[in-house]
Symmetry: C2
């Protein structure tokens, strides 16, 4: 068993799915479609089951993976998509708690041979486009388990895996609770009326990963790129004035860009999904970069340096006749990072990426023990299925 592959980032699992689709092996994809009770992972968690008993990704914390590998072998052989329910609860109270978190609850898993019908998902994901994979779990008369259609929240369209308009599907129904899940990048099972029949589908909203753009090429940049990448951000490193060897120096970056501080706004696609950390260690470069970021209205601008330095930057903006409103400035985080203490370059990077995670997930950083309510945000959808959680 390839132990080291269990705790790979989510992006890495999708990357592996793409690689497998490009290869000619038959792999099996397992996806959690429903969870009751407390479990380590939520609906939408994925695992690739390889021939030979190894896997990529994780669905539980090791409670079920061995069993899944066995079912995976069967699915690979028969080519039939299966829906398997693991009931880790039982009436013996002692046992339930003996199994502990992660090995608790009822978990429903869809296992399918990985085929071309999944390609639109990975293409959207890496193309930066949100998509929901809608897969039939129980099809009534008209559909079979594993039948699939794609919902694109940006245009509200429904497409078949081959890219054609999906016809014959209960389109109206999909504009309801399923679309809501899809638009929020959430996952869950939904029952849809289909004439007199009823269709149970799994809606797997795949939010394209957010982008973290790091401005700067100093020695403090690399641990930021490493941690951001492992935390599922698409990472871009931006260097100025003919910075060289960036690809080599920042192997964790998805791309590197060499440009000028004055043309940042034009050369980069800055939008509501861009999280930026400005750490060029040059005041004027930082100033021009921050100006472009504020103009673009990105949700997070982390600026390395003490608060006074940013105050000076505001003065400099004002000298140039630029004023930014309170709301625009609320996206600025300076000094950058969470207050975790620790002053090594890696510790500073850890606190920066922790802050970006919290902001991108709209969390107030604090101890989970101080938070009220469940850890996983609940999504209530109108359906007779259990409210899926993520």
């Amino acid at each position: 068993m390839t132990q080291s592959n269990w705790s790979v980032p989510e992006t890495e699992v999708v990357q592996q799915i793409r690689d497998r689709l490009d290869g000619d092996r038959t792999d099996v994809l397992a996806t959690i479609v429903d969870v009751e009770g407390n479990a380590y992972r939520r609906p939408g968690a994925k695992m690739l089951l390889d021939e030979g008993g190894s896997g990529v990704g994780s669905i539980t914390a090791g409670c079920l993976e061995d069993e899944l590998l066995a079912v995976g072998d069967r699915v690979r052989e028969t080519g039939e998509t299966e829906l398997v329910t693991y009931d880790l609860m039982n009436d013996d109270d002692e046992d339930v708690w003996g199994l502990g978190v992660g090995c608790n609850g009822v978990i429903e898993v869809l296992l399918e041979p990985l085929t071309e019908t999944y390609r639109p998902a990975v293409e959207a994901f890496f193309g930066g486009r949100d998509v929901a994979v809608v897969t039939v779990l129980d099809g009534g008369e008209r559909f079979e388990r594993g039948d699939r259609v794609y919902y694109y929240p940006d245009e509200g369209t429904l497409e078949s895996p081959d890219g054609s308009e999906a016809t014959g599907w209960p389109v109206d129904a999909l504009s309801g609770p399923a679309a809501e899940l899809a638009a929020r990048g959430k996952a869950g099972t939904v029952s849809l009326p289909d004439g007199a029949d009823e269709l149970t589908v799994f809606v797997d909203g795949l939010a394209a990963p957010d982008e973290l753009v790091v401005f700067g090429t100093g020695h403090d940049v690399r641990p930021v790129t490493e941690l951001a990448s492992k935390n599922d951000f698409r990472v871009t490193v931006v260097g100025f004035r003919g910075a060289v060897d960036l690809d080599e120096r920042f192997p964790d970056a998805d791309r590197t860009v060499t440009t000028s501080p004055a043309t940042v706004g034009d050369d980069l696609d800055l939008d509501e999904r861009t999280y930026a950390v400005v750490m060029t260690h040059n005041f004027v470069d930082d100033q021009l970069t921050v100006e472009s970021l504020l103009d673009a209205g990105v949700p997070y601008v982390g600026v390395m340096g003490p608060r006074e330095r940013f105050d000076r930057m505001l003065d400099a903006f004002e000298d140039d006749g630029r004023r930014f409103g309170e709301e625009t400035l609320s996206s600025v985080y300076t000094p950058v990072g969470l207050d975790l203490g620790g002053g090594s370059p890696f510790q500073i990077a850890h606190s920066i990426v922790a802050e970006v995670l919290a902001v991108s997930n709209e969390r107030t950083p604090r101890h989970l023990k101080r938070r009220e309510g469940p850890i996983h945000e609940r999504v209530d959808v109108e359906s007779d299925a259990d409210a899926p959680a993520q």
Copy 2:
């Protein structure tokens, strides 16, 4: 230049110092001894300067390193310890801010040939014992720059590098401000009266790294060990019931231990420096482990799982006639981790290690921009040197 070595964890720099001492190369150690103004690293930050222009560790964010490598070559050749001041401030306001944070301020750096006089520092560090390296910067009549003595806060003793009692040093003076720095693991320059003379020494308090003990061997453990190790914790993984191949499965751990939940308290040195994360995913194993940790009074017990699970654990303790006071229970963090959102194994690990960092550094986790006062905690010592900061 070995780019990848700049952002290594602090522990790794000390490890490299040990390796160099064991080898027969002549390396030069650079240490920041004083900082005025804002700088990226604080007094005590270290960098090893290799022959051939590469380095390990970082002192600034790339502003001075090239210059330091050049001075390092000179020190290697002459064998003379040097104290170099870099004044990155000047009267031209524009320029000061143009240089930006990290390339700001006045930085004083001690460069010395790495010799056996430094060995007690690495031995204490890896032996889990706090120590302060006291090095003469300006020796007056009786001492030379680079002369050195070790102060051990646990016993209040002063030793020469060869382990003998240090004689002839102004011992009384060292029990004052220097000892205060040393006891707190802080670093700074201190002036000591030496008869009619005056001695300027650099006190480099090396706090032995805290230990993170992870109980559990599931697939969610590895990213915790990786991140904790890179954040300068000594990492121990504890497995139960003949867990095998732990060293192989957790390469980032400093050690792995296989024991039984009932003997955790006896088999591990649990003390006020032990930070523990309990994630065996087995209720009874977790319960026995938590009991031992609470009995030992460790400062942090992170328990994976929902709050209700821990409430059940408290019920189970009560059934066994065990009650823990409020203060003891305040060390329990469950659900474990900071509230950063994100549910991948790596994201969960990131939030756990962020919490351990905050607790071990006695910080309230929140955005640095919401924190009042300076990022670096100031240490005021009675001396005519500037108050060193870290």
